[in-house]
């Protein structure tokens, strides 16, 4: 972009919450997960774990991912349901992976920058995660992880079709490069169509807060590549990092500026109502909390209100989810307890006891 670097927040964190690069790989010579018996799944899990679980392998994988060790391996079937849901709420595992009882495991570093699901739809699903807009860094790390994995495992690869995946929509590069963006202003100004159209033209997918088939709870969207065949990884990165993400960031900032300039009173009204509601509520559903949090985030990022930092607001979107509340407070039993706990967390974050 031609904008001087000093004028532009380096990580675009006012709009981009986080970015992720995910890889799908299968071990050569074994049936894919959906077609495998439990013993075969156990065998695949063991093959991956013994190839990646040694101290030497772990060290090079974690270093390649730019994460901080150690790499914890968690057996999913023996994990309590609440903790599985917690990992899902943190975007570390998929919904399908959280449920069920077939042999599978997740490996993750404490900083969550690097994680692997074993025996999801494919034998191996790798994720490199970075806060803010650090797509290029995440991409480089994912490529380094792929190389480190390929030195230890033989992946199913077809000379014409590339990396083979259980679902033909992932075949080829087997890669998803994506960002989570907060588009509150574009939604208020009814300009989300612009984003959706651009995404469609460039063969990108847009999804809600929790991935495929979910609502865009509170105006958060995930944008990622859809095509994986006939295009190189580096081209996919360029489409997103050089074209799509800067365009979306500028549109959202433009919409925020226009709102503050032309409809200041209306925006102030909404933002202050949001703060007041979160400071006053004694029972909060997740939906209501996310909606208000989204509006307040718009106010904080445009300087209309003080209040919690963007980092804190980002963290709150995760911490007010059900399993997180229940993990923090084991005395929670029913839905009302949960709503009350959510409201308490909000009041504390907004400086009200």
């Amino acid at each position: 972009m031609s904008m001087p670097g000093a004028l532009r927040p380096t990580d675009d964190s006012d709009v981009v919450m986080s970015c992720r690069v995910r890889l799908a790989r299968n071990v050569a010579g074994m049936p894919f997960v959906g077609r495998s018996t439990h013993p075969q799944r156990r065998e695949a899990l063991e093959a991956i774990r013994s190839a990646c679980g040694t101290a030497e392998a772990t060290g090079s994988l974690v270093a390649a991912a730019g994460a901080t060790g150690p790499l914890a391996w968690v057996d999913m079937p023996s994990m309590p349901a609440r903790d599985r849901q917690l990992l899902w709420e943190r975007h570390l595992i998929s919904r399908n992976f959280a449920d069920g009882d077939s042999p599978r495991a997740v490996a993750l570093t404490q900083d969550e920058r690097f994680s692997m699901m074993v025996n999801e739809e494919d034998h191996l699903r790798v994720q490199v995660l970075r806060p803010g807009n650090a797509l290029r860094a995440a991409f480089d790390a994912a490529m380094a992880v792929d190389a480190a994995l390929a030195a230890r495992l033989d992946f199913a690869f077809h000379p014409r079709l590339g990396y083979l995946t259980a679902c033909p929509t992932n075949v080829g590069c087997g890669i998803r490069i994506g960002v989570m963006v907060h588009l509150r202003a574009l939604r208020l100004t009814n300009e989300l169509e612009k984003v959706k159209r651009a995404a469609k033209e460039l063969h990108l997918a847009h999804r809600g807060f929790h991935g495929e088939g979910t609502d865009a709870t509170g105006d958060w969207f995930q944008i990622s590549n859809q095509r994986t065949l006939g295009i190189a990884e580096s081209e996919l990165l360029e489409v997103l990092a050089a074209r799509v993400v800067p365009a979306i960031v500028n549109w959202e900032r433009e919409a925020r500026r226009a709102l503050v300039e032309r409809q200041r009173l209306l925006v102030e009204d909404r933002v202050h109502r949001g703060v007041a509601l979160l400071q006053a509520a004694r029972l909060l559903t997740l939906d209501e909390a996310m909606k208000q949090l989204s509006t307040v985030r718009l106010g904080v990022s445009t300087g209309l209100v003080g209040g919690p930092s963007l980092d804190t607001i980002n963290r709150l979107t995760i911490e007010i989810q059900s399993a997180h509340l229940r993990a923090a407070d084991p005395s929670i039993e029913g839905d009302d307890d949960e709503r009350a706990a959510r409201a308490r967390i909000m009041r504390a974050a907004f400086g009200v006891a």
Binding site: G29, F32, A150, L161, L164, G230, E233
Partner: protein, 184 residues
């Protein structure tokens, strides 16, 4: 139960119905969980007499026999159509004819990978050559036995596997691009 730990053909749950049917001289095994067995027969598993169930499963088997079956993992065309998922690496060759339009739709017309290749690129080529050899043997046997449909399918698979010249006919516009991308 004969098999101590089979999972359902359609999902990961333990199979409670195990059945082998012979359709057009081919042995097809079914392993279904309670839910999917009920879905197949339209009735819950429990109260149905077992022979009625077997009869219905045989009909399902007959319906499934349309289209190829993967010789490596046993996935049928019906399985693929109902789940959208393939069963193993070889499925990509088994269902090559059906997959081409699917891939074109999903990937903007492309049918040729241009991205990264594994560092053991030689191993991939070796693997491809082994596959080509095996398919050629099967093609010879199919022609000798006058199984022409199978022979045509094998020919398609061999064609799909062969490295393509950049101007090879019939590969589609985007598919004709020569591999580029990073080779570590």
């Amino acid at each position: 139960m004969a098999a101590p730990f089979r999972s359902c053909d359609h999902c990961g749950k333990p199979a409670v119905v195990h059945n082998t049917v012979i359709v057009n001289g081919k042995v097809i095994e079914h392993h279904l969980c309670e839910e999917h067995a009920a879905a197949v027969t339209g009735q819950p598993v429990g109260p149905v007499p077992i022979n009625a169930l077997l009869g219905q499963l045989a009909q399902v088997g007959a319906a499934r026999a349309r289209g190829p079956t993967c010789p490596s993992c046993g996935l049928t065309f019906h399985d693929f159509k109902s789940t959208g998922l393939l069963g193993c690496a070889r499925c990509y060759d088994t269902f090559a004819a059906t997959l081409v339009p699917v891939l074109e739709r999903a990937h903007g017309g492309a049918t040729q990978h241009v991205g990264r290749v594994p560092p053991a690129g030689d191993a991939a080529i070796k693997h491809r050559n082994e596959q080509l050899e095996r398919l050629a043997r099967e093609l010879g046997a199919a022609v000798a036995a006058e199984r022409y449909e199978e022979a045509a399918r094998l020919r398609d698979m061999i064609h799909a596997l062969r490295p393509q010249a950049p101007d090879a006919p019939g590969t589609g516009s985007a598919g004709a691009a020569p591999p580029r991308g990073s080779v570590p």
